[in-house]
Amino acid sequence: MLDDTDRRLLRHYQHGPDLALAELADQAGLTPGTCARRLERLRDAGIIRANRAVIDWRALGYEVEVSLRITLEKSEPRAFDDFLAAARDVPEVVEIQTFLGRVDVRLSVIARDMGHYQEIYRSAILAMPHIADIEALMHVARIKSDEVLPI
């Protein structure tokens, strides 16, 4: 249902989500009217879900980012549901992912500094139910983060 023009448009839009319609149309080789109609159709079809602002947590004073790789007690049937519900209650948890592999769940946790992180870890993370094992990985730098799909 996508043609080559849609793909070209999405490619340019992914690389410049903040472009004005006229600029985007120009790059994709379309008239602004055609471009707007195609974008509208892609949004209606659910292919474009949203165009979101990305927050830089460092600018808000959150200097520390830790990935927690968690293995759950799988003997407990409600382990996933209970754990995920508890994770959603912690405001400093910015990402929750579940996996098939050695790791069951990964939480991305942000904190103002190491002291703040330790506080979150002790009071909120360790209190979450059904944890069998936790590994912590500290973020050093983002080398690539545009999350562009190779369309």
Binding site: P17, V54, D56, R69, T98, K144
Partner: protein, 152 residues
């Protein structure tokens, strides 16, 4: 560092939902005038709070059925330049994100593929060919939630 009030936090939440809204549309949600909303947006941008915009696409509908996170350890530290590895890995189109981490692995990669056999191709022909690549651990993504974070 910038201090946020309740209205700033509400404005940020709206922009994370949809960054294409106009200042007047946002203002209607927040009970602010268009110029007052615009000034707040400007302040958040100037402080670097809004880093960029990201197009949220339905990867599955576009034919990318599999997302895998790879933990990569560099094998020959010192002999291979980190800069060479980072440049080479960032150039692979299927690699969406590259994070340098400290702990069990050196790098965390987010890789998209059409299906598992396409992922195998990316892993064998691209990732395993990178200069200095050592142990690799793969975890297939089942579900993903991005939370509002401490502005919620």
């Amino acid at each position: 560092m910038i201090e946020l009030d309740t209205t700033d936090r509400a404005l940020l939440r709206l922009l994370v939902e949809d960054a294409t809204q106009t200042a007047s549309a946002l203002g209607r949600h927040l009970g602010l005038s268009q110029p007052a909303t615009w000034r707040r947006m400007r302040r958040l941008q100037d402080a670097g709070v809004i880093k960029s915009q990201r197009l949220d696409l339905d990867a599955e509908a576009l034919g990318f059925g599999v997302t895998v996170f790879l933990g990569v350890k560099l094998a020959t530290k010192g002999r291979v330049s980190i800069a060479d590895f980072e440049r080479a890995v960032s150039a692979i189109p299927e690699v969406q994100t590259v994070e340098h981490i400290l702990g069990l692995y050196d790098y965390r990669l987010r890789v998209v593929a059409r299906d598992i056999s396409d992922f195998e191709r990316v892993l064998r022909r691209r990732i395993m060919m990178l200069p200095g690549v050592g142990d690799v651990e793969a975890n297939v993504l089942l579900s993903e939630e991005r939370r509002a974070g401490p502005i919620g």
